[in-house]
């Protein structure tokens, strides 16, 4: 008797995302990545860019996925919307997850659809018990439909709502407690929001429920000013990570230890070496902090 070994299709793709640095996958870099197979921890894609029926995006992603772990990042589910989630969109996400088996799946604490309109921006929500109920209902639905935990990303915000009754952190803590979701800590968003809202970013990080953080995002921002001349930072993802954000990242890593860390650079996309250098820097910081912490643990200094 012979065993029909050929009928057993083993999934040999790397699954879990290690605590290394990765980058957002851009079409501009498909060929370089496939041709040179760079040493990088993982790639992350925006789910909506891979919801077409076929074509080159799927060909490249399939090829890249066969060599690297993948993180799937949704930008259009509109978890903070006051209306119900788009079930069709949720099904498309489910299919993508089944097809590519990402190590992590994340979405935003924001809304982007109203009625039939899609706004292509991550719009803010007031932090109230009413919005907490709708966000937790939506996250429950997402996790039940997908059959897995999702990570929720803290937003970049440019204004506050007079009706808010929770702090952003209390709102996130309560969302995690009620839904069991994990967190994606966007350190650039912490810096952008803290500057815009006049919060202390170090205190934000220290109060953040860090035990639930499974991924970190880093990106570049643009500096503007509001009508009173106060700094107004915009989360543009169109330049290198700012030095102050790197320091904040180092502080965060000191608290949570190394985590899968992504460089997001979505517009004015740089050359591959420039993007890779940002990821290398994130990885170097994680290694240095790890070494420092081990030294501290061993010597007490």
């Amino acid at each position: 008797m012979t065993l029909a070994l050929e009928s057993v299709a083993l999934d040999t793709r790397p699954q879990a995302i290690l605590s290394r640095a990765g980058v957002g996958l851009k079409a501009e870099h498909y060929r370089t990545i496939v041709a040179t197979r760079p040493d990088i921890g993982f790639f992350e894609v925006h789910a909506e860019n891979y919801m077409g029926a076929g074509g080159p995006p799927h060909r490249y992603l399939t090829e890249i996925r066969s060599h690297y772990p993948l993180s799937l990042h949704g930008v259009g589910l509109s978890i903070g919307a006051a209306h119900s989630l788009d079930r069709h969109h949720l099904q498309r996400l489910k299919q993508l997850i089944e097809r590519y088996q990402p190590g992590l799946f994340s979405e935003h604490l924001a809304w982007s659809t109203h009625g039939t309109r899609f706004f292509d921006d991550l719009l803010p929500i007031p932090y109230t018990s009413e919005t907490l109920a709708l966000v937790t209902d939506h996250i429950d639905e997402v996790q039940n439909t997908l059959g897995r935990q999702m990570l929720l990303e803290n937003p970049s915000t440019y204004l506050a709502f007079a009706e808010s009754t929770y702090s952003e952190i209390d709102f996130i803590v309560e969302t995690v407690r009620r839904t069991g979701c994990g967190l994606l800590l966007d350190v650039n968003n912490v810096y952008v929001s803290s500057t815009n809202q006049r919060w202390d970013p170090i205190r934000y990080l220290d109060e953040y429920p860090l035990a639930h953080v499974q991924e970190i995002h880093l990106a570049g921002y643009t500096r503007e000013a509001d009508e009173a001349g106060r700094p107004l930072l915009i989360d543009t993802h169109d330049r290198p990570v700012d030095e102050l954000v790197w320091s904040l990242f180092e502080h965060a890593i000191g608290r949570v230890g190394p985590k899968p860390t992504l460089i997001e650079w979505d517009s004015k996309v740089p050359t591959w070496p420039e993007l890779k250098a940002e990821a290398d820097r994130a990885e170097a910081i994680m290694l240095a902090v790890g070494k420092r912490e081990r030294h501290r643990a061993a010597t007490g200094y």
Partner: protein, 266 residues
């Protein structure tokens, strides 16, 4: 239930695209004062994001009219027809029709057809993958059988018909295109857009070809489709047109039998 959040988002959403509306109350800066400048960041992000999506999706159109004109036109379209889906690669289905009646662009009557080619290109790029029939596979069919065959067109195949030399104009304005002058008074051109493998190809189709392909798409046999093409262009050349379709990878299969009931197109 969730009445406040619903009202808040309705108000916020309406003012995002309509800049004549005032900043909704209660949107404040760190001092607790209403801040229109802060709300304007969202207004700006939304419109700029959609303009960028259109710039990426319609590069030849942008090259023809220049970036400044394109941005203004894209802004007008984005405000008038924002996307209805988070899959932004689908955005712009109504762009050609919008531009056709967009007052500042009426002196460029061929522009909507260039947009239609770029739109077809995008649809082909993201279409379902399928193996295209090899020319050899067709050559193997006995001649007396070919006439009654019904072909399945490749899922990526699109046809764009134009009263202007739109394929020539489009070709001059793609990334590697050589810019020159096209005589917009010259004969109209029809385009075949298809992606049999990794690359989207745009080809010129001879007179009657568009009618022929449309007839095949509706389920008619080769003979029936040829008849349709000849009603439009009496000198329709079947072998040339069939050759172009096969070489382009425009077929994904064939079969015999009754038409599939989609013959009302002609």
């Amino acid at each position: 239930m969730q009445q406040l959040a619903t009202n808040r988002q309705r108000q916020f959403a309406a003012a995002l695209l309509d800049t004549t509306l005032a900043t909704p109350p209660g949107l404040i800066g760190p001092d607790g004062e209403l801040s229109s400048k802060r709300f304007a960041v969202y207004r700006n992000n939304v419109v700029l994001g959609l303009i960028e999506a259109l710039r990426a999706n319609f590069p030849a159109t942008r090259r023809i009219i220049g970036d400044e004109f394109f941005r203004a036109m894209a802004r007008a379209y984005a405000v008038s027809e924002p996307p209805t889906s988070p899959m932004l690669f689908e955005y712009g289905a109504g762009f050609a029709d919008f531009v056709a009646v967009f007052e500042p662009a009426v002196s460029l009557p061929y522009l909507p057809d260039v947009i239609r080619i770029e739109r077809a290109w995008l649809e082909a790029y993201h279409a379902r993958d399928a193996v295209a029939l090899e020319p050899m596979a067709l050559a193997a069919i006995p001649n007396d059988r070919v006439a009654e065959l019904r072909f399945s067109l490749h899922p990526s195949l699109r046809v764009v018909r134009s009263a202007f030399p739109v394929v020539t104009i489009w070709r001059m304005n793609i990334t590697d295109g050589v810019q020159g002058s096209a005589d917009v008074e010259s004969d109209g051109e029809d385009a075949l857009v298809v992606r049999p493998g990794a690359e989207v190809e745009v080809r010129l189709i001879p007179p009657g070809g568009a009618e022929f392909i449309t007839a095949l798409a509706s389920g008619l046999s080769l003979t029936e489709a040829t008849r349709c093409a000849m009603t439009e262009f009496a000198l329709f050349d079947l072998s040339t047109n069939l050759g172009i379709l096969v070489q382009a990878g425009g077929f994904s299969g064939y079969g015999q039998g009754e038409s599939r009931g989609k013959t009302e197109a002609r």
